[in-house]
Point group: C2
């Protein structure tokens, strides 16, 4: 058994605290396991072994001889001698001003970690897959300013484990914002912070399953990752029919009344919808169908899960507030910062019907699935200072210009291709002649564009008529590339 | 059905983009649902309803009449008139320089959200429950500086959905740090970022369950939240015996050999340990027992989960590196920033045996359980710049002073109470005369101290002899209060 030592900041009890504090401030921690050949040789061997084996990476700065000697409780000269030996052997380098470091290429080749470098063939030059906003427009400087203000005012207890619902500052700011900007009936006690839509959906699916719900209506078009989450939670997804005017929520009633038991809708206890901007088809849920689904939920005790994934981005004057405003006791509203700021923040929010709050909070708390408080506090400050509104309005203009350029390019160069779903959001649907979808996707890939056909978003059990179309996300490519992307896209179209 | 409008930043296409950008920058979003009584009255009614119903909270700033008129595509005077009407009615206030706002107490009493104010009786003045560090020493200014540097250098793609393992910058920085400071064999490909120990434990429990493992050995003393997580994942926790020298890992072999099938240890496929500093008893796992558990894992294919919850905080020279260094293919190492920085960051890390990487990454990715990238990038910068070492060494000195003061106070004023487990960590165990634990906990509570007895940390199935003791966390109270806390604690002791 190797005898082992570790370093610590406080090796020498007789040091006055001031010196100890200074040393602590200057030092770095180093764990060593010297073998027992006398102090100097043991230290030298242990250091050499740590370097040789790759545990201390090339370039790693070692503690000063003063620090390490104090940590280990041995003479400073002994440490200095050991360092000098290893410099002489080529394991370490010593340079005035940068201290003693592990030499570059000191590790033996076999010990170097092998990095897999995945060879990506045909990596597309531009990404038109919907779902990611323009990451270059994340307001870094504004965000840092908000972080500074938020941290300056946060109480110490904000940095602790905290409330599973999320920080009260953020829940309060969101309740105000969602109420004002999206017509949501919200109060901070019913807001639950989550790390994105999928997290929120998982929590709701868990609660529904615990309540005995076994199936849930979904839209004919959507994202398979959502359907997968529901399935893993034990909920069967039953697609609602879809027509030219959108999702036929009135079929829930037909299902509930048992008129068409063959649709599978008669037993559903909940429905997942994208009412403001159907994903990916782009139509808003019509007023009559909004009422129909809320009425269904009221009458049957069903739950509506509203995915307001791009509610901030609307380009025409036709208003589409949150469905939740029509039925705050029937709707779980879920929104995120993933489109409006950046997915990397991993911040989302749910507004829950009062009756669902205890179960959803318990499900979240049980899983210790909390979001970092610093980003929560920063987003709260970002919202209350007005920076969020300013940012959303600025990027909305940028996206609208991209959309306008897309529509104009199509009109000029591919007039037979009709763009729909363009009144809002970060993507458009380009309707294609029947039977051409796959060849257009391939032609686009050949021109360096990653783009999905509509088929990929169609629920496998959907009875909706098959349509050929492209789903074109315009959030991701940089502004400077957009006209080139449009050229390539138009060339790929039939 | 109410006809509804929404505002948007781009109402007037004929505006030159520069003006539109300016308006966008100054504006806020407001969702309105005016009823159809002519433009001015419709707008006035909708605004009044939004204020009356509480949707627009007192103090909310409304868009300027210029912004709202552009958004709605109506004359600016119409908006100004509607605002003036509502100011006259008392719903809004207008003040030079602060714009138009919702009047304080404008909402009708019935519409005000009722906030529950939980009455907390006997809320203790000081918290000695272990688990939370001194939140006042979180290095706010240093952290913000690191965040600024990190964001300045982050590529745009860092802000996207990203790798379920976590950001490569952080995985690389942690591999270097853990290798240097904790003796862990790490390379970035085997590091998985998680949001805390419990998250890491859940992921491992999920993987173990999928591999067919049904039971797992735990220590006789530990945290019930950990046991609960295992149980919810479908794993039965079987306590290992505990003696004066710590957890008897050699019993795993006895169990594996079928010598004592009555212990329940014969079938376990994994073991959860706190080798550096048993929680809460405070003893390190002895060298022979470290070897024994690694040998058991090698021979049986079992997995060791190492909870290195306070590995950074060691006050004596006896080194206790990570157990993982003895068996990188057998041990899942889990550490967090919760003790060294703050739990609110929700950042932890796992170093996985190579064979476990694909399954653990899949389990994490499936759940979309990612941590915010900004904190990840900041922690990476914090580690590589040396700020993490400086911080750990500085707080280690503070904690050591608290510990020394605790030991001195006990020696002077309660000499019959022996403190153990004090060589490391943020808590100590005070051994009490038999039968006094509950009365001491009550006496401490009476003096304003929240403190737990050892009984609460004992596994319900443990066969360890019952001991009376207090588990005293010294991380939480502020420095200034510490001597007063010690006074109260000594008075509560027998």
């Amino acid at each position: 058994m190797v005898k082992s030592w570790a370093t610590s900041a406080d090796g020498n009890r007789s040091d006055p605290p001031r010196n100890a504090g200074l040393r602590a401030a200057l030092g770095v921690d180093l764990h060593l396991e010297p073998a027992g050949h006398g102090v100097r040789r043991g230290l030298t061997d242990a250091l050499r072994e740590a370097v040789r084996g790759g545990r201390l990476a090339p370039g790693t700065r070692l503690p000063s001889s003063r620090t390490l000697s104090a940590d280990l409780g041995i003479a400073r000269n002994t440490v200095a001698d050991a360092y000098a030996d290893l410099v002489a052997e080529g394991w370490l380098t010593a340079r005035q001003g940068s201290g003693t470091r592990v030499a570059e290429r000191a590790a033996e080749p076999a010990a170097e970690p092998r990095r897999r470098r995945p060879r990506e063939r045909h990596r597309p030059a531009y990404d038109l897959i919907p779902g990611t906003p323009d990451l270059a427009s994340f307001p870094r400087a504004e965000w840092l300013r908000a972080a500074r203000r938020a941290l300056a005012h946060a109480p110490h207890e904000a940095l602790g484990y905290g409330d599973p619902r999320g920080r009260v500052e953020l829940r309060t700011a969101l309740a105000g914002y969602l109420s004002r900007a999206r017509g949501v009936h919200a109060d901070p006690d019913r807001v639950l912070i989550c790390s994105g839509f999928l997290h929120g959906l998982m929590l709701i699916a868990t609660v529904l399953r615990e309540r005995g719900v076994r199936s849930l209506a979904v839209e004919s078009y959507g994202l398979d990752v959502h359907w997968d989450v529901l399935e893993r939670a034990g909920l069967r997804g039953v697609p609602l029919p879809f027509d030219e005017r959108g999702t036929r929520t009135e079929e829930l009633d037909a299902g509930a009344a048992g008129q068409r038991p063959d649709t599978g809708l008669s037993g559903v206890g909940a429905v997942l919808l994208t009412p403001a901007h159907q994903f990916p088809m782009g139509v808003p849920l019509r007023p009559g169908r909004r009422s129909a689904v809320v009425d269904w939920a009221r009458r049957t005790g069903g739950l509506i899960v509203e995915d307001d994934y791009d509610g901030e981005f609307r380009y025409d004057r036709q208003p589409v507030g949150a469905l939740q405003g029509l039925g705050p006791d029937q709707v779980v509203y879920i929104g995120t910062a993933s489109k409006s700021l950046a997915p990397g923040l991993r911040l989302g929010w749910m507004v829950l019907p009062p009756s669902l709050v205890p179960e959803a909070v318990a499900a979240k708390g049980r899983a210790d699935w909390s979001c970092g408080v610093l980003d929560q506090l920063t987003l709260a400050e970002f919202l209350t200072s007005g920076a969020y509104d300013r940012h959303v309005r600025a990027v909305r203009l940028r996206y609208r210009r991209r959309r306008d350029a897309l529509v104009e390019a199509l009109a000029a160069r591919a007039p037979e291709v009709h763009a729909t779903g363009i009144a809002a959001g970060l993507h458009a649907v380009l309707e294609l002649p029947s039977g051409t979808e796959q060849s257009v996707v391939r032609a686009a890939a050949w021109r360096g564009l990653a783009v999905h056909g509509l088929t990929r978003f169609r629920h496998p059990d959907s009875v909706a008529a098959h349509r050929d179309a492209l789903v074109v996300g315009y959030g991701t490519p940089p502004d400077s590339a957009w006209s080139g992307v449009l050229d390539a896209l138009c060339q790929a179209l039939p």
